[in-house]
Structure formats: C-alpha cells, structure tokens
C-alpha cells in the first residue's frame, strides 16, 4: 500500500472523506477504522449484514452521532447533505398536508418566516416527479407506506442537496414504487449528485450501483460492485458481523488506521503519514460488541 503525506486536504464539494473513522455506542465500535473517500458524483451502495454499521455510518456522516475516533471531512452548509433515515422519527399522526411535508425540504431557503407560496410550483413539480400529483392537500396520515416514501423522496428533491444519503429506502416498498424511486436516484446521479444508499437487495445493487462498500463493522471491501460482491467477501462479512464480545478490551489500533481498498471509480487515493505496517488480517485477539445499530 502506498503511503503519502496528507495534511488537511480540503474535500472537493460533493465528496466525503472518512479518515480513520470509528463510530459506535458506549465506546463499542459499530464502524471500525474506516478510511477512504466517497468521491463527488458517486453512486454507491452500502452493503452488509444487519448490525454491520450501515445506518451508523450514515448517521455519523450527517453528524447525528459523534465520532469515537478519526474524523469525517464533508463539505459544510446545511444544504450539502440530504438524509433519508431508515425508520424516521416522523409522527405520521400529526395533522400535516403532503404539500407541507414536502415544503419542509425548502427550510434552508425559507427559514422561519419567508412565504412558501412562490415555491409552490417547485413543490408541485416534485410531487409530480414522484407520482403524487393531486395529493397536495391530503393529510400525511392517510398515505400508504409506498406513497409516504414517495412523499419523502419529493422532499429530498426540493432539498436539492449535493449529497444524498438513503438508509434502506426500499424496505417494505413494492416493486413498482421501488422502480420509480430508483429511476429518480439515477436521475440524481446524472445531475452529478453524490448518492450513498444502504441496501440489502444485491440484485438491485448489481443492477444500478457502480460502486459498493461492503461493511461488517470493519470495511470488508470497497470498490467496483462486481469485484466487491463476491461470494468470498460476503461470507467474510457474515462471519465478521457475527463476532461480538461484551467485555472487549480497549482497542490498540489507535495510532494505526485500518485501510479499506480505496474506491476505484476515480476516488482520491488515501494514505497517511504514520509509518506503520498493517494489513487486513485481524491479528488482535479482541472483538467488539455493538448491539445498538438501528
């Protein structure tokens, strides 16, 4: 592996750099020593078994949970990243119309007081893009699961963010809706936006996502989807994610970062100034528990 000096290299707009990143709960890492850059314009799938740290990584990127170690370099500004959680904290019993829900995506433009009326056309266009034209005045509580997910995608559209993070966006969604939403995602990709989606359906990943990060708390493989999603890698991911230890010792890899192969679709090559040798072998005898991964 090549080593080179990196200082505080500014991240290009739309890219996310993960530097020696460890995320977790109660000091137990759920994502362990992750290094690499998600380049601007990437369409990347985040794959791994349950508890692999996919949701944790996405929450870390938006700043919802703090890094235990290492850091995430991402472009600033509240409009930079749009995020669709797996099971949001959305109160669907709240008497709010679909149009108002979508209008929330305009928060950065509208703020506390500015009128949303001039934006109405944008909002309606977003609703029509997700196939919900005519649903403007319906209460959100009356939508079906698929319709609601479509409405949330409309909100993502009006957020107009450079980076879009999706946490299992198609869980519990029927094939027709999934196909429509994937078409939207491909449209965003065509506009040069960076998209990271946590997914379980490997056929979907192979069909639509050029790059994949296979995660099992440790990065197992990262690069072209074809080369990442091999039987061997998937088996390793499964084995890694099943190992856990309630009384894990303190991690001794504090100075040395564990590397994943850098993404191969034009991603920044990563290296750092520590002169230490390490590989992917798990030569340390402790394992980690995480149990809180949503």
């Amino acid at each position: 592996m090549t080593h080179a000096l990196i200082g505080d290299v500014p991240v290009q707009p739309g890219a996310i750099a993960l530097r020696g990143l460890t995320l977790g709960y109660d000091r137990h890492p759920a994502v362990h020593h992750l290094d690499g850059t998600i380049p601007a314009g990437a369409l990347m799938a985040l794959v791994g078994p349950n508890g692999a740290g996919k949701s944790t990584l996405l929450k870390g990127i938006i700043g919802e949970i703090r890094c235990l170690d290492g850091r995430i370099d991402r472009p600033g500004g509240a409009d930079a990243i749009a995020y669709l959680p797996q099971a949001g904290e959305i109160d669907r019993g709240f008497p709010l119309s679909v149009l108002d829900l979508v209008a929330m995506g305009r928060w950065r433009r509208l703020g506390f007081w500015r009128s949303a009326l001039p934006d109405r056309r944008t909002l309606v266009r977003a609703l029509s893009a997700v196939g919900l034209l005519g649903f403007e005045d319906r209460m959100i509580g009356t939508l079906s699961g698929g319709q609601f997910q479509r409405a949330l995608f409309a909100r993502l559209i009006v957020q107009d963010a450079r980076i879009i993070l999706l946490d299992e966006p198609f869980t519990g969604i029927d094939g027709r809706t999934t196909a429509d939403l994937i078409a939207l995602i491909r449209g965003w990709h065509g506009e040069g936006r960076t998209i990271v989606a946590a997914l379980h359906d490997l056929h979907q990943v192979k069909a639509h996502f050029p790059t994949t990060l296979l995660l099992a708390r440790e990065p197992v493989a990262w690069g072209d989807t074809e080369t990442v999603l091999t039987q061997e890698n998937l088996a390793r991911a499964q084995a890694l994610s099943e190992a856990w230890d309630e009384d894990a010792a303190i991690c001794g890899r504090g100075d040395g970062h564990h590397h994943a192969p850098p993404p191969s679709d034009g991603g920044d090559r990563h290296a750092h100034d520590h002169d230490h040798s390490h590989g992917h072998a798990h030569d340390h005898d402790h394992r980690h528990d995480h149990g809180h991964v949503a």
Partner: protein, 288 residues
C-alpha cells in the same frame, strides 16, 4: 335572557375583569395546548404546573400574597425545572417524561412544605384554586402581556415548531433551531401556566390549556382549524363558567374548567371528526 347571560358582567366590575382575564388566557393557553397535545406532551404540562408551586411559594413567603413576587417565583421555578429536565434528557439515557416526573415531584413536595411553613389555610387555598374574581390591574396586565408574548412567539416559531413536532430528526439535519425552539416552547408553557394559576390556581391552570385543545381535535383537521377552535372553546368555557359560578355561587376556577370539560364530553360524543355517536351509523363508502 340577555340579563341572564350578561347581567353579572354589566352589573359588576369584578366580573368584567374576570372575563377579560379569562379571555386573555383563552387566547394564549389553548394554542400552546394544541402543540402539547400533538407532541404527546399533554401530561407534561400538568407536571410543569406542579413544578411552579415552590417558586410561587417562595414568592409568597417573601412578600405575602403579592402578585409580582409569586409570578416571578413561579416563572423561575418552572423554567428551572423545564431546563433541568431538558438537559438531563439530552445528556443521559433518561427520557423526558421520566426526568420531568422526577423534578416535578421534588418541586411539588418542596412547594407544599414551603407553603405550610407559613401562611394560613386560606392562603393555601388561594394558591391552589386561584383568585379569578379578585384580579387587580397588575394581574390583568400580566395576563394580557402573557397572551401578547405567547401569540407573537408562536407566530415567530410556528414553522420550526411544527417541523420539530413532525420530524425532529429532519429538523436536526437541516438546522440547529430545534433545541432553542424546544426550550422557547417550554418557556411559553411555563408562562401560560403561571398566568393560568393567577386565575384558576395551580391545580387547574392546565385546564384552559389542554381541555380546549383536546376538544378541538373533534372539530378540526389541521392546525389552521385546531388553534382557532381551541381558542373559541376556551372563551365559551370562560364565559359559561363565570356565569354559572355567579348564578349558582360556585367556586370560579372549577366552574370554568368544568364548562370546558362539558364541551369536551359533548364533542367526544357528537364531534364531526371521530365523535363516538357517528360510529353508530356506517356511511356508505365512496366509489374511489
């Protein structure tokens, strides 16, 4: 008929003052109650109303039955408990209801202890049941001031407050306004409870805040309907309660809250949105 309804207000200044005070409260407390209800924090306001007691009691110990002292004390105690509970919630694993319960119980016990240290039974009754028929100028101005501040603050915070209710995680990802907005809202709750306890007493201060809000749920579908409906219910309750208490010589605070309670029960049965009576009929379903 006119005399029956309006007689006492035409005849007596104190009745007009009571009505004005209750109307001011009817404009400010119900909208706050609507948000509390929608955030499933209805009982939280009840806890807060108890948390106010020790502050009011300290004011009472220092200055006797003086409005400014008890108001400032009540505000300070309420805000302190709300802030403390909020901090504990955001920094530990304890949920908001549990941490609030812990602090309000401490607060309530301290309040009862303080009041019983000095002061007679009658003073205690004033604090517990309010003095709506003895509202003086400062008290009226306080109620009017609270209503004004509440309505302006709600107008200013409306959008992030709704977002914080519907999708707090989304608000966190696009803005840092969520935390401050939440605390500002808790401040409004405390302020309106202090206002309510001038009129209705600590025990019933929540009455005009929550009952109209919950009643409105049976009549209106969205916020633009819920808030005015809740205000109207509160005003009707105030008027009916005051009239009834004058005619039948009933204590005023309970009469007003019971009037609101009656409107709730009627709405529960006959309200067009989910009233129980409508369940007896099954309307023909639509084509699509």
């Amino acid at each position: 008929m006119i005399d029956l309804l309006f007689g006492p207000f035409i005849e007596f200044g104190f009745m007009r003052r009571a009505l004005a005070g209750c109307f001011a409260l009817s404009l400010s407390a119900p909208p706050v109650g609507v948000f509390l209800m929608l955030r499933r924090m209805s009982l939280m306001s009840d806890a807060m109303s108890h948390a106010i007691l020790p502050g009011a009691a300290v004011g009472f110990l220092v200055a006797g039955l003086s409005l400014p002292a008890m108001t400032i004390g009540g505000l300070a105690a309420g805000l302190f408990v709300a802030l403390l509970a909020g901090i504990v919630t955001r920094t530990t694993a304890i949920k908001e209801d549990a941490s609030l319960a812990a602090f309000y119980l401490i607060s309530l016990a301290a309040g009862v202890l303080l009041v019983s240290l000095r002061g007679s039974q009658i003073d205690l009754l004033h604090i517990l049941f309010g003095t709506v028929l003895a509202l003086d100028d400062p008290a009226l101005m306080l109620l009017g001031g609270i209503a004004t501040v509440t309505l302006f603050a709600l107008a200013a915070l409306y959008r992030p407050l709704v977002m914080e209710c519907v999708d707090p995680l989304f608000l966190r990802t696009v803005s840092r306004a969520g935390g401050p907005v939440h605390y500002a809202f808790l401040g409004l709750v405390v302020m309106n409870l202090v206002g309510g306890f001038q009129a209705l007493g600590t025990l019933l201060a929540v009455g005009l805040m929550l009952l109209p809000a919950i009643t409105a749920r049976f009549w209106a579908a969205d916020l633009s309907g819920l808030i005015p409906t809740a205000m109207a219910v509160a005003m009707v309750s105030s008027f009916a309660g005051l009239t009834a208490s004058y005619r039948a010589d009933l204590p005023t605070g309970p009469a007003i809250v019971l009037a609101a309670g009656s409107l709730y029960l009627v709405s529960l049965l006959f309200g067009p949105r989910g009233g129980l009576v409508w369940r007896l009929f099954r309307p023909r379903h639509l084509e699509g």
